[in-house]
Every structure is written in C-alpha cells, then in structure tokens.
Amino acid sequence: PRTCMKCGQGTAALVIRVGDPFCRGCFREYFVHKFRAMLGKNRVIFPGEKVLLAVSGGPASSAMIRQVQEGLSREAAKRLRFIPGLVYVEEGAVHRQSPEQREQTLAQMEALLQATGFPYHVIHLEEALELPPSILQPGPERSRPPGPPGPSYKEAVDSFIQQQRQDGDSGTSVPGHSTQDTPAGPPATPRLPDAAQTQELLRSFEAAGTATAREELLEMLRTHLIVQTARDRGYAKVMMGESLTRVAIKLLTNLSLGRGAFLAVDTGFTDQRHGDVMVVRPMRDYTAKEIAFYNFFFGVPTVIVPPLFTKRREKPSIHQLVERFLLGLQEEFPSTMSTV
C-alpha cells in the first residue's frame, strides 16, 4: 500500500488528479479547503446573506450541503457566514416514476432535507407550467437606497465581525428547526401534483422530439423554477451543485448545440443573467470521482433516482454522447476534464 504524498504518513486511500495519492485525513482537508477557498476567492457571498442551495439528492449537491454545514459550524474566525435554505425540484414525472415511486423518493428526500435543520422548499416540475412569463427576463436589480454605494466585500465582512463581537458573538447560528417554510407534521393534502398537470408536463416533453431537446427542456424548466423560488422567497443567491465533470460535459454539449456565446455564464462560477438572482457553482472544481469518494468516506446521504428515460431504439442525446466521450478520454488522459 502506498503512502499519502501530503503527510507522508497515512496509508493512501485514493488517487487525485494525475497520480497524487492521498490518505483519508488529508483528502478531507483538501476537499473542505477547496470549498472555502472557492467562496473566499470569489467574494460574492456577503455575510448574513440568504443563499438558496439547489439540491437534487445526487452526489454533488449532497456534498455541497455537507460543505455548507461544515463551513457554518467552524470556529468563529473561519466560519461561513450566510443563511442557507434548500430547494428540491421533484422530477419523478419525467423519470417515468409511478406515483408510489414518486412518493417514496419524496419521502427519502424530505428526510434528508429535514435532517439538515435548514428551511427547505419542495417543488414539483409540473409547477413549471405555471411560471410567469417574467421568468424569461432578467429580474430588476434590487433597488438600492440613494446615497453612497454599498460596502465592498472586505468592508462588509469586517463590519459584520465587529458587530458580532459587540453582540457577544452568538454567531449566525443555523435555525435548529427546519419547518420555517413547510408545515410541521405530516401534510394533510396529497403531495403530488394532480394527474392532469403531470399529463400536460409529459406532453411538453414528448413534443420535444429528441432526447437532446428533452434534456435541454428539463434543465431549463428546472433552472427557471429554482430562480423563481429564489425570487419569491427573497434569496439573492442560488448555489448549484454542478461538479467539474458535469460542467465540462455541459461546456462541450453547449458548443455542439450552438450556445457557444453563453459558455461563460453557463459554466462559470457566477451566472448573473437573471439579474436579481445570482447563480454560483461552488462545486465546479470537484471531479465526480472526488465527490463520490468523499461521500463514501464521510457518510454523505444521497437519494438516487434512475436516469432520464431513453427509449431503447432512440439515439442517445448529445449530452449522453459528450458524457461518454469525455469520460472515455478521461480514463487515458486524467487531465481531460479540468482542461476542458
């Protein structure tokens, strides 16, 4: 067994990047540090701000939740200082799940969301049918009161810390209850949208024609729902859990789809095209492998749903082709993803 290249002592548990063996302990530090550095370097999340985490139950967004929890519980000097909420888009309809399966997935996700202690919102993809047309336009920038311009990031952090010291530093503690935005106890009303709405949603997806168009439609509706939720609930920031792997695939896919002009916003750390709601991607430097190992070693809960339905004789979508292409190349050339 090989030794960790970082501490020179621990038994290596995995290989990161191109041939760097790390032990579990050093890997954990590396992983946690990367998240903090991402937020620290980019300086877009201000202290005390409300941030909506978009979660799918998948490995990357689940790892993201864990990083936020870790960050919020750190000792005062290095603690993350924003106020998280969670949003989950239930997409069982387009995954061809039966109502029973959807209920089951929903139950698993609710347990996961509740366990975090953060306020959470569950929305169904069917609700996209009711989005206002305004979703297609960037929202107005929050109107600033007239006077001197707002504080810079550094000033905001400094004054926040000052204030904390004066208040006796109770910290931006996370609310212990998670029921702020959901009813306490089992809901009395059925939780899935009614069949007519599901049918209408499925009709839109059928009308999309190709697997590629369906994937694009799903992503678009999901994003719009998330942004609308943020807007409705007063969140100016949304964190999405797209990993490096996912971002690389998205980049090449979008090029193939003629969306080259939007590469920067589609794959960058920040995406400001929605105006009043800024999307950030703090997981974009983590490979799928790093996330999978982290989740396994440190018990991060996930909820797996079978992938988007592809009819047997139908050609795969461009997304799937690009995924296959990049993952295949990555096997032989481990810097493929990060280079892309």
Partner: protein
C-alpha cells in the same frame, strides 16, 4: 454496488459471493467476467466496456481506490470487499 450501479443488479447493493475454485488466479479482471456472467441482470454495456468497467464507474478494493492496488491485476484475497460506485448522472 452504489451510486446507481445497483440498478443493474436488481437493486441489490450488497452481494456476498463465494467464487468457485479454479486454476487461474482470481484477479479483478476475472471477477468482472464472473460478475458479467453471474450477477449482471441487464444492459451489460452500462457496467462494462471490454474487459474493464465502463468509464465513470469507480472501483474500491477494501475501501481504497483500485488505482493504488493494480486495477485489473489485483489478486483477490479471502474476505476482500469490492465496491463499484457509479458516478454517471450525478448532480
């Protein structure tokens, strides 16, 4: 099997397996062949590619990256634990 890989194996995550005696040594290469013939319920191309696992599927031997253990050439020992984690469709 985890991360969605279990879906190819009737949803069963943990399989306790006793491999038959044979003259050739039991390495991961041969284990994969055996899995393909005996455990894989459907769509083998989603799990394997040629003689190895499909790109996107991680292999852990006794909770360590198989890259540290010789990958396909690793010789299985009694009571070894092999874990396959799918990283496909993870978001």
């Amino acid at each position: 099997f985890r991360g969605g890989a279990e879906l190819l194996f009737d949803g069963v995550k943990k399989h306790q397996v006793t491999l038959p005696c044979q003259p050739e040594p039991w390495d991961i290469r041969n284990l994969l062949k055996w899995i393909k013939q005996n455990l894989l319920k459907e769509r083998p191309e989603l799990f394997m590619q040629g003689e190895t696992v499909r790109p996107g599927i991680l292999v852990l031997i006794n909770e360590a990256d198989w890259e540290l253990m010789g990958e396909l050439d690793y010789k299985l020992q009694d009571q070894d634990n092999v874990l396959f984690i799918s990283t496909l469709h993870g978001g």
